[in-house]
Amino acid sequence: MDGIRVGDRVIGTQAPVIVGWDNIPKVEGGPVKRFIFTWFQPAMLVAFVLFWYYAPNSIAKASTGIGIGIGFRAVLLALEWVNPRYESWQLTWKELVTDLFFVGLGYTLINLASYYLGSDAMVEASLNHIGLDHLGWFTTLPLLVQAVLILFIFDFGQYWMHRAMHNWYPLWLPHAAHHYITQFNINKGAVGNPVELFLIGLGIGGLFDFLPRAFLLSGGIGIAISSYDHINVRFNSPRWWRFLFNTTEHHSVHHSQDYEATRSNFAGTFIFIDRMFGTCIDGEAEVLGMEGGRRMSIREQMTYPFAEGWKAIKGRLGSSGGWPSLGGGSQGMEHASHAEPISAQR
């Protein structure tokens, strides 16, 4: 394949990737369907903002947020049946079971680890150490500004964590399992090794969570934007939306089988962070995964970082070389030899 030059990179030499928004298929159907799938995302964002801004204190609680999040995902799951992006990503019983298993781990085991060992524990320790007064100024800002800042700070941290995962082999190992997904569905964001899901969840956004409404508002905005990252729904997202926010199109490029394409679109929520650092590629891919689209079993997802890590350590001890090339461990992508020593990917 010839690929397409984007800046100093050539995208799509190893697997098909659509580059450029004008080349992406549009929603097909009558005017009502096109209207719904053009304005659904902005309408839901406005609805989430209004709800969390004006809901009485008795309703604006974390439990309400969890309930709304689950309900919203159920709606999005229904949309995947109504207007799928690709038939080749159709949800099957086995895929649903796999996805929900990882979702379940997220709500139980990873949540437990985060509460006692991760962000929550670290934030509480930090606040105890530095005291509330040092961050009190933040709470005098307008609520919406606070919420967007919380979200931006968290996403900024996640961008660099994600980019580091694509640059440094020990961090790539837990993340690699997530790149073995071969299709997108609403719950695919939860699929991956639990160690990675714990790491990617670490952020400093919680540092500001002492004003509950701003925190809940930021959570609502985050759900209204980033829930679509792994969705199998064809949207005609407005131009301003796709300029600012990560979309399933951006994220499919990141998950494509083309190595160079995967080294782009790292942000979870705000794609403009990628634009700021020159890692954004506007486009779309249908053919996803690693090793030519090999589907990884749940058991391998669980053991992959440890098994590959052990192999890498033995390799390092047995030779003077560094870590293996990025891109999938010892069984990595055929193009792993193209990896730069220090560069980017999720």
Partner: protein
């Protein structure tokens, strides 16, 4: 058959009557495309076809099955296809509720481990933490709302709760085992749905292939 009474959990058996006079070769030829999938190996003899799958693609029509045997038998009414398929996915889904029940117990155990003790020193530490939280809440309540939020009509932050009534602070709610119980229930339902659905889907898939021209 090693576990005849429980292997229905992860095995699917069935039979389909072939068209009168349909040969084994013709039937297997029609089914053959199903076994030309990535990660699938098959072995075919006169009246038997065995297959194995590894890392099968998500959109493989038989992705839920990992191995199986298809046999053409002669019956008084005519030739019959009998199939016997094995699915690790069904077994996994059947066992998943148990895993989540274990996770519920782990959650309870970890919460207990970190629960404040009942000694006088522990009670003192808990009282200090509560007082500190109350002080933080009071400071927070004193921060004036931004004029923009007042103008837009946002609700004022809630007043700090009286001592001993802060158990409704949901933002710092401990993980509970309820979530794990819910997922155990979800997987129990998913297993029942999958056991029935995949049985029907494979039967209908074989039927369609055998009838295709």
């Amino acid at each position: 058959m090693i576990l005849p009474f429980i292997d229905w959990i992860w095995q699917v058996r069935g039979s389909l009557a072939l068209a009168p006079g349909q040969s084994s070769d013709d039937a297997f030829d029609r089914l053959d495309p199903l076994f030309h999938q990535p990660g699938t190996s098959r072995d075919r003899s006169d009246d038997t076809l065995t297959f194995q799958k590894k890392n099968q693609a998500a959109q493989d029509k038989m992705s839920v099955f990992d191995s199986g045997v298809l046999r053409i038998e002669k019956d008084a009414a005519g030739p019959i296809l009998r199939y016997h398929l094995t699915s690790r996915a069904l077994l996994f889904c059947f066992l998943a509720p148990l895993l989540f029940l274990v996770l519920a117990q782990i959650t309870i155990a970890v919460n207990d481990f970190y629960a404040p003790g009942t000694s006088a020193a522990d009670k003192l530490a808990a009282a200090k933490a509560e007082a500190k939280q109350k002080e933080a809440d009071e400071k927070l309540a004193k921060i004036p709302m931004n004029p923009i939020d007042i103008a837009l009509g946002a609700p004022a932050p809630k007043k700090p709760q009286a001592a001993g009534k802060n158990d409704e602070n949901e933002d710092k709610k401990k993980p509970t085992p309820t979530t794990a119980y819910v997922f155990a229930g979800i997987f129990a339902v998913l297993y029942i749905v999958g056991r029935i659905l995949e049985d029907r889907l494979i039967r209908s898939l074989f039927q369609r292939r055998l009838l295709s021209s």
